[in-house]
Structure formats: structure tokens, C-alpha cells
């Protein structure tokens, strides 16, 4: 069956989740990816939201991280302070999804400003819980469209630390985990020694196209593969059960 870029990204993101993971979820692709993983290879995945919802069991697609469908039937609710304190700061989460306007070669993420902080060209929403997620989960997963504007060599502002200068600074600061995968509409990238490395290209995407859409000389894995495409079963699950109204697809 034919698939869309989003369906491929949802599938690739789901493949990065493991059974038993506690995952800090976002809205959109991350939410679909978690639900897909839960219905397939990771039935014991726990979905956590920065709104304090622990182990959500939503009957329909949430429209925001505070959607009431996330609350009805959840296993636990923490206050805003409690969720960040007891779950993120205490290191109880295995994975977390982040977006952002820019991500650089060391996985640092900017969701604060484009341009100068004091006199911004574009004022973005800011960290929210992104800085905490990036600092505390074992594996940060980033889902984003792939273009040069979004992939500069160095972000304008570090909202959420990745590997910082890539020379061990993250470990020195005592931060947990780090960026584990960047999933775009062109490729899936991992990190080696604090630097982004392309691990798989989506079917039909050339190396040169990915390089062209990236603001620095991009590393490619020696074991570069092609991103697995979603199976028919997976596509059916996504379209008929997870997002039947096509809100995010």
C-alpha cells in the first residue's frame, strides 16, 4: 500500500519505542507513534504527558496535552510540579518526544527565538517542558520536517540541551541520556560521539538530498540502510483506528 511521509514517520518513531518504556508523549506524530507501538510490539508502554497524566488510556485522539480524553481512564495524575519533580527530575522516564524550530549537529534544540534573544526575528513559544525532557529522559526522540532552516550547524538559542559541544559536556553537567534519534521526512538519524549520523534513508531519498537539506557536513553511518516502510497492517491500524478522521495524517 501507498503511504504518506507522516505515516512513515509515525512508523519509524514507533520502531524506536520498546516494550515497557515510559514515554513522555506529545501531540500529533508522537502520540500516534506511541499508540502504534502499544498496539503492536510494546503493549506495556506507558504514556506520560507533561500535563501530569500518567499512563493515559485515551478513547480518542487527544487535541492537546491536556485533553480530557487523556484524563478519563488514566492511571495516575500528578500536579504540574509533581510530574516534573517526581517523574522527569527523578529520572523515571525512558524516552521523550520533542519538536523544535531548529536542531543542530549535536542535537541541541531551539524552540525559543530565531535571531537575537533580546530582539528576535521570530518569537517562538519557548521551552515549556522541553528543557526538562531533553535533560532527563534516557532517549530523546525528535520528529521534524527536514530542511536547511531547521538543521543549522548551531542553533540560535539552546532551549533544550543535546550533546552541547559534542565533547562530553553533557555528561560533565550531569544530564541524563541524550538525543537518540531524529526522524524526518527524509531520513532517520542517530548520534555517535555526540554527533548526528544518518542511519537510514527513506525509500527514494538520495544522500545528496539529505545533505542539501542540512546546514553542515552530515555524517552517514557505515551501516546506512533504507528506512523500513509501514506494513499494510500498520497502515490499516493507523488509518482506521488511531487517526480515523485523518487529523494528523
Amino acid at each position: 500500500m501507498e503511504y504518506t511521509d507522516t505515516e512513515l514517520m509515525v512508523t519509524a518513531a514507533a520502531n524506536r519505542l520498546r516494550d515497557g518504556d515510559s514515554v513522555l508523549v506529545g501531540i500529533g506524530v508522537p502520540n500516534l507513534a506511541c499508540n502504534l507501538a502499544k498496539r503492536t510490539h510494546a503493549p506495556d508502554l506507558t504514556m506520560v504527558y507533561e500535563s501530569g497524566v500518567i499512563d493515559a488510556n485515551p478513547s480518542s485522539l487527544p487535541l492537546s496535552i491536556g485533553d480530557p480524553v487523556l484524563v478519563s481512564g488514566a492511571m495516575n495524575l500528578e500536579s504540574l510540579h509533581g510530574g516534573f519533580n517526581y517523574y522527569l527530575q527523578a529520572g523515571r522516564l525512558d524516552a521523550g518526544f520533542l519538536g523544535g524550530a531548529q536542531i543542530d549537529r549535536h542535537g541541541n534544540i531551539n524552540s525559543t527565538v530565531i535571531g537575537d534573544y533580546e530582539d528576535p526575528d521570530v518569537r517562538l513559544p519557548g521551552s515549556g517542558g522541553a528543557c526538562e525532557i531533553a535533560s532527563n529522559v534516557e532517549r530523546t526522540l525528535v520528529v521534524t520536517p527536514h530542511d536547511r532552516r531547521r538543521f543549522p550547524e548551531k542553533v540560535d538559542f539552546v532551549t533544550s540541551p543535546g550533546y552541547l559541544d559534542g565533547d562530553g559536556e553533557r555528561e560533565e553537567l550531569g544530564l541524563r541520556g541524550g538525543p537518540a534519534a531524529v526522524i524526518t521526512d527524509m531520513a532517520v538519524m542517530g548520534f555517535e560521539d555526540g554527533e548526528m549520523v544518518v542511519e537510514s534513508l527513506h525509500p527514494g531519498v538520495e544522500r545528496s538530498a539529505v545533505q542539501e537539506a542540512t546546514g553542515w557536513e552530515l555524517q552517514f553511518s557505515d551501516d546506512l540502510t533504507t528506512t523500513p516502510v509501514p506494513s499494510d497492517d500498520t497502515l490499516q491500524l493507523i488509518r482506521e483506528e488511531l487517526d480515523p478522521d485523518g487529523v494528523y495524517l
Binding site: S51, E78, L80, H81, F84, S127, G128, G129, A130, T159
Partner: protein, 303 residues
Amino acid sequence: MSSVTSMSEAVSSAIDDGDSVYLAGFTHLIPFAAGHEIIRQEYSNLTIGRATPDLVYDQMIAAGCVEKVVFSWAGNPGVGSLHAFRRAAEDDVPNAIELEEYTHFGMATRLYAGAVDLPFVPLKTFAGSDLPDHNDNIRPVESPFGDEEVYAVPPLTPDVAVVRAQRADEDGNCHLWGIHGEQKEAALAADTVILSVEELVDTATIRSDPNRTLVTGDEVDYVVNCPYGSHPSYAQGYYDRDNEAYLNWDETARTVEDTEAWLEEYVHGVADREEYIRKLSSDRLLDLQAGNSYSVPVDLGGS
């Protein structure tokens, strides 16, 4: 001790121009009715704090009530940007606003420090981020046990907090369920507290389940009975989020003209929340019905 009054009375009694105000509610039970009353009474030079400014602060900024925003995520949740916030931040329209910026955890911790009266509270975040370079309220502190360094923030103690809950008695003893956000910390950190609820109940209902209590009436100065007071946000078990309103605001707020027309019609053009709600179609209200699913009761014993 608190007293039941109207939102109009509560706001005019509690808030002065230039005050710092915290309208609490993280994604849930956002006090839109209070925000609109602040606009209607044409307050100015307010410092407004919220983790997520949301539409209600976008509207207050557009109305010219605000000189400073203390926040951690300024967006239209699940939709996109807050256009009025951006116009003020980027282009000083209708006036320049000062921004004081944290992460969600930083904001929550500042309120917590205010609620528990500590001069600082340490937290493991901000390391490696550029945020501390731009905010003198985020400072490193060394552990007195070993040489670990973490960051700390000072208390946030708003002049006035508006908090919402589903039900309260007339003294302001209240129950909140669903997402708590920072409602409790805001109530305990602020000097003056306006509590706005979906319904008033008898004290016996509150006392039947003391584990459900958000704060007691001792912490509350004004109690406002305000059904639908969070529309277009939601109240768990009462009504869902009006997503159409969030999508519409994304269009409306793109121009100053449309924004002002909206404020004229939905804020200045109505006397109070009841009139605002009556302007909505019955179809829309019916679509927001939340369904029912009741908690399994617990036995507190003792009778």
C-alpha cells in the same frame, strides 16, 4: 475567610493597576471568565504570570492590559502561535511587553517556593540551556553535601491569583479533579485569591472526601460561582475543550482589526460570563458535553 460574590466584584476588589496577577490552570480549568472581566474593567500595566499564556493572555495582551509576562510556553496549544503575544513581543503592538522566561518546571518551582515560603528551591534543569544567561532569577547553587551544583529559582508570590475548581462550598473549601496543574501552588503563593467554580455545593460534600480538597476557604478571599467559566478551555466532567474556538482564534488574532472586533463582541459587548455563554449556539454547547464516568467511591468510615 471568603465570601461569595460576582466575578465583576471579585476582580474590581482584588486587583489594582500594576499588580502581578496569576491566572492558574495548566491546560485545564483556565480562568477565561476572570481574564475577560480584567479586560472589561480596562486594567493596565499588569504583570501576568502563567506557565502557558494560552488564548486568555493573548486576549489580555491584545487589550493593552499587560506590561510584563512571566511564562514558560507561549503558544496556542495544539494549534500554533499566539499572534497577539508575538505582535507585542516582536513589534510592540499595542505596547511593548517585557518577558521573563522559564521552563515549565522552573515556573512550577517558583510558585511552589512561594507556596512554602522558601527563599529558593533547587531543581535539576537549566544546565546546558541558554535560559539562565537571560534571566537573573535562575542561579546556580552548590549542594552542602558533596560538590554537586544545581540551579535554583526564587519564590513567585503574585499579588492576586485566580484559581478554578469544579466545586466549592460558600466558604471556598473546594474540590478539583482531573489535571491539577499549578492551581494549588498559585492559591498558596498569592496574597489574594479569587476562586471561581463550576458549581457551589454544601460543605458536607467537601468534607465527605478531604483527600480531594485543593485548598480550604482560609486561603480564599473571593468565591465566584461561574459555570462555564473556563470556556473555551474545559472542566473535566463538565464540558470539553471547544477546539473550534482555539482554531478560530488562530485566524482572528492574526490582525489587530479582527482581534479588536472579537474583543468588542465577546468581552466588552457582554455584561458577564452568563451573557457570553448565551451567545454560543446550543449545538456548540451540546457538542461540548463531556459524557459521564464516575469515580468509584471510597469509604472514609467513622459514622
